[in-house]
Symmetry: C2
Subunit: 155 residues, 2 copies
């Protein structure tokens, strides 16, 4: 039996981002300033990421956002996952995440200084403390980090 249109679920928002680990397994996070209409993000840490524009491939979004938020030109090394979320109004969001590595010889410095207050590597213990203190953007940020460490250990 053919599955018709009813079995397809439209996603309202697509986002894409990167997990960048250093040799110690620390994750690169950015602390968001918050922008007009999105001030609930202010001060929280998240991976470099952002909205997939219309007609944009999520791979390109991930690379673009990494540059805008950290100043780093990165290469995507491996697909990590697509994470489904739901807003309070019921709308679905799908967050596409890749493992990425900075191209050599660069300096960490947010390009979009009006969006990002700070970018730095955070060790696992500090990450957990930040999460417990409500300073990490979302539960899924933790899933990205867990999955990245698992993927790196596996390969």
């Amino acid at each position: 039996m053919q599955h018709g249109e009813k079995t397809h679920v439209e996603v309202h928002l697509k986002a894409a981002g990167v997990v960048i680990l250093n040799a110690a397994g620390d994750i690169l996070l950015v602390r968001e300033l918050g922008t007009a209409g999105q001030m609930d993000k202010a001060g929280l840490w998240h991976i470099p990421s952002g909205t997939v524009e219309v007609g944009e491939n999520p791979e390109d979004t991930a690379v673009r956002e990494a540059y805008e938020e950290t100043g780093l030109r990165v290469t995507l090394t491996r697909f990590l996952g697509a994470y489904l979320g739901r807003f309070p109004d019921g709308a679905f969001v799908l967050r596409h995440v890749w493992l990425a590595e900075p191209q050599p010889g660069q300096t960490l410095r947010p390009t979009f200084a009006h969006e990002v207050a700070e970018a730095r590597h955070v060790a696992r213990a500090e990450f957990d403390a930040l999460y417990a203190a409500g300073q990490i953007r979302m539960y899924q940020t933790k899933l990205f980090y867990d999955d990245a460490l698992r993927e790196v250990a596996r390969t």
Copy 2:
């Protein structure tokens, strides 16, 4: 405000597959025999794809399924999309699709002959006729093909 666990939606089934286009833009499809418990698939055409095993990266699933269902060793060239679906019981399925290219010098021949009856390239006009006749596995198969043609035209 930190988004907690409630904003994360667990996906019950993950699948991964590939869109392989030839130079004419025809899509490589396989016709499924159907297996015990899944005889509703029998005779329908779909892209080479299958279930992401526990601990398996969807990229690896896509490459593995391409080989099992077509006999071709492929290289993933570009992420195409993650497509959300819903089963009648409400469970979510997420289908990860890549554009892929066969490595040179190979013969098209399903490895898992107990699962796949036939594998061949289908031109767009035939695809549309098969879809209208209910012979394509699902509505999303059509989305994959549309998106692949758009992505190839764009890049």
